[in-house]
C-alpha cells in the first residue's frame, strides 16, 4: 500500500471526499474516522461517491467511531471494519498517510 487517506468529515464536506477519492490510486487505502464514518453507511447518499473509489483500493471504517454513533447496523458491505488496532496496522502497511479535514 502506498498512501493511507484518513477522512474525518461528514457529508457537508462531500466535495472534500470527492477530491480524496479522485486523488487515490488503486494502491491506496482510505479509512473513515470520527464524523467521516457516516460515509461508510449503506444509503443512497453515500453509495454514489464510494462507488467512484478505484477498484482494489481498500475502504475501511473505524469500528469505535461507527459504534459510538449507533451506525454499526447500517454499515455498507463494501466497507471493511477495523478497530484502533487495525487502524494502526494500516498505517504500518502504508508508506505515508494523508489526513483530509
Amino acid at each position: 500500500m502506498t498512501t493511507l487517506h484518513i477522512f474525518n468529515q461528514g457529508t457537508l464536506q462531500s466535495a472534500l471526499l470527492q477530491r480524496c477519492i479522485e486523488t487515490m490510486s488503486h494502491k491506496d487505502a482510505l479509512i473513515f474516522i470520527e464524523d467521516g464514518v457516516v460515509w461508510a453507511t449503506d444509503s443512497p447518499l453515500t453509495s454514489q461517491l464510494l462507488g467512484k473509489a478505484p477498484q482494489n483500493a481498500g475502504i475501511y471504517v473505524l469500528s469505535e467511531d461507527l459504534g459510538a454513533r449507533g451506525l454499526s447496523e447500517l454499515k455498507a458491505e463494501s466497507v471493511a471494519v477495523v478497530d484502533y488496532n487495525g487502524f494502526v496496522e494500516l498505517t504500518e502497511q502504508s508508506q505515508n498517510t494523508l489526513s483530509w479535514f
Partner: protein, 131 residues
Amino acid sequence: MIYSIVVYGAPHSSQAPYSAYQFIQAALSRGHSIYRIFFYHDGATNGSSLVVSPQDDDLLPKAWHELKQQHEIDFVVCIGAGIKRGVINEQEAARYERTQHSLNDRFELSGLGQLVDASLKSDRVITFGAR
C-alpha cells in the same frame, strides 16, 4: 516503528485529541514507540491547565497525564499557536506582561522546528485534523 502524532483540535471542541489518544494507546500496544505529540492549530489548547471538565466527565486531561508518566513521549505545544490561543507559560506571561499563565507543566512550549524534527526522526507522522 517510530511514530509522531500531530493534533489540530481542542478538547471538548473537537474529537481529534480523543482519537489521537486512542490511536497512541493502540500503537503502543502493538510495540511501536511515540517520539512526539505536536499540538498545533486549535490543538494547542490541550496544553492549558485551565480547561475544566464539568463533573469530571472528560477523561482526556487525566489520560494525557498518565500517558506522559508511563512513556517517554515529548508533548510539544507549538508556541506560535499557543500564545494566540491563550496557552502561555510563566516566561511568556512575563514577556507579554500578563499576570497569569496557563501552560500545564507536562507540556512544553516550543517552535515549529519540533514538528519538522519529528517528521525527520519518525517512520510515520499521523495528523488528527480539525478545521
